[in-house]
């Protein structure tokens, strides 16, 4: 409840200060100021970027395990699958800000609430795709696996999961893109990552380097998202068996 009022104050500041700044730095241009900002704080930005990527990557791993695990429990049951899809749809509409705020009470500040929120959002697309992917595995193949003596678990692990994997992995990629942005709110609970630059910028809106701070974070998040997506594409190439590669 605190934040929106702060933001409004900041907006007021912009209106007053922007003309002056524009005059003063008219010849410098935006890019020069950006480079100065980044140059001055390079170590800080690099550290936050690594932290950001690390938060997202680790959360993504946890989310994938959870999402596939839950999907494994529900995909054979129509009602449970529908329920899981419903939860996915509703879950994605919860504002991340609200959720991270709610996490502060039980988990306090720092890494824990940040991870919980990022994992929660990352899990939803993975879960949805895992249910779709696993349900889409030809039943005849499952019967064939059971028919030659593969146990339920072995059938899941060696037949259903590998065949559903490309679909699951595309869910992981969607998650990666999505939670790269969501992870920025982690800074609100003093968690790690590039979100800090956004909040710093917002809180000093109009002050020197405020815009640069936000732009730095946004560009950083976009770049990290690209890096992560490339990494996931590479992972897909490595982990998708040749026989089912498109």
């Amino acid at each position: 409840m605190l934040w929106p009022s702060d933001a409004r104050v900041a907006h007021g500041d912009i209106a007053e200060t922007r003309p002056n700044e524009t005059d003063r730095y008219a010849t410098d241009g935006v890019s020069t100021r950006m480079w100065e900002f980044v140059g001055d704080r390079f170590d800080e930005i690099a550290f936050a970027s690594v932290q950001h990527l690390s938060l997202v990557a680790q959360s993504l791993v946890i989310a994938t395990v959870l999402g596939v695990g839950i999907a494994a429990l529900v995909y054979r049951n129509g009602t449970a699958s529908s329920l899981a899809n419903g939860v996915t749809a509703i879950g994605l509409t919860i504002p991340s800000f609200a959720l991270i705020g709610l996490m502060v009470a039980p988990l306090g500040f720092g890494v824990a609430p940040a991870v919980v929120v990022v994992v929660f959002y990352a899990m939803l697309p993975v879960l949805r795709n895992a249910v779709v992917g696993l349900a889409g595995v030809d039943r005849a193949l499952v019967e064939s696996a059971r028919g030659i003596g593969m146990s339920r678990f072995r059938t899941f692990w060696q037949v259903e999961l590998p065949i559903a994997w490309p679909v699951i992995l595309s869910g992981v990629r969607i998650s990666g893109q999505m939670v790269m942005g969501v992870a920025a709110v982690a800074a609100y609970v003093l968690g790690p990552g590039l979100g800090g630059f956004i909040f710093q910028g917002l809180s000093r809106m109009g002050g020197a380097g405020a815009t640069e701070s936000i732009v730095t974070a946004v560009v950083g998040v976009i770049l990290l998202a690209l890096v992560l997506d490339l990494a996931l594409v590479a992972l897909g190439r490595l982990t998708t068996p040749k026989g089912i590669r498109a």
């Binding site: 064939s144 059971r146 065949i163 026989g243 089912i244």
Partner: protein
Amino acid sequence: MPETTAVAEDRDESQITGKSIRLEGVTKRYPGQSTPAVDGVTLEIPAGQVVMLVGPSGCGKTTTLKMINRLIEPTEGRIVLGDEDVTAIDGDQLRRRIGYVIQAGGLFPHMTVAQNIAIVPKMLGWDAQRIADRTTELLDLVSLDPDTYRDRYPKELSGGQQQRVGVARALAADPPVLLMDEPFGAVDPITRQRLQDELIRIQQELRKTIVIVTHDFDEAVKLGDWIVVFREGAQIVQYDTPERILAEPADEFVESFIGSGAGIKQLALQRVRDVDLKEAITARPGDDAAEVLAKVEKAGHGHVVVLDERDRPLSWPSRRALSRMATIPAEADERTPVIGSGATLNDALDEMLVSNAGAALVTGRRGAFAGVITIEEVMDAIRAVRASASDDLADAPVGTNAGSDDGTGDEVAQDG
């Protein structure tokens, strides 16, 4: 692809590697259904024989098959494999000892041919070398070149090739029993016929106990040593040899199931290997044509069979063609009528009708030339079948629905 093969002399020498199967009063009831899907089936499947389960769709034949390896757990009754009661043992362990083939092979698309075949041996803890050797052996057995196909993925194979790999996978751990659920339902008629011949040839070598579900009566006649005809509720209407079912159908239901042309279908009962083949003069590529021609004329034959280095027929030139040659050519002649010794007389007759010679070359094991079959041999064989069909069978295996506890089972099932 080599022609289907099998050698007649082999038949008696080869040992039966199959085990008998006995279903005792096996019943399957699904919750919420008033009539059982399978009602008290008692069925003896003799070791080393091919038993076909036929009937209209939904008659319970597939359910019956799947209860043999307990893919579907029976509600009541006992399953005995060899002399071991397997009704209560671990289902996965049981299934590793029973080959299972479904329509289109059921190959796992993310595994190579070799990986697919290796699944059961791996579960049984074989070492890598033994698995690799076995894979090579099995691909040879199903007439796929191991070096070409070992590392291919299923999507790189034709439907027929996938089905062959499916059979190889089922045979990987050398199980005594092979269960096949509509195995050739998903391939074109020509491939289906070839796969059927191939299966006959493989069975000739291996002598497994094979149970096959099909809705195609012609397939049942062609492949089966015994045929079980089911009606709804897995009620056994007739359990007999193909010859006797064709000659003496138990009732109108069986008659309608056989369909028209029972006489022609009897042609499919006799295999080429059961017929006395004629000998032929053979030659190798590179031989002097004049010498060969002299031999052919001396024997009073009209043609010479040209064989490659593995005794497989390449061509079948007539005397006239020979007289125009200097040496015997090495090229294979596509039009040469070749038939596997496991093929039926029906197929042989068909092959002869399209060839000009009114005869066909018969190949045995690994495609090696075995002899020549002519129309006269086919006619003699048909006469013999007709004569023997009415003989009574003393050793006929049991197949009834008597295992059911309630005596009203029959009527109930027929109502449903």
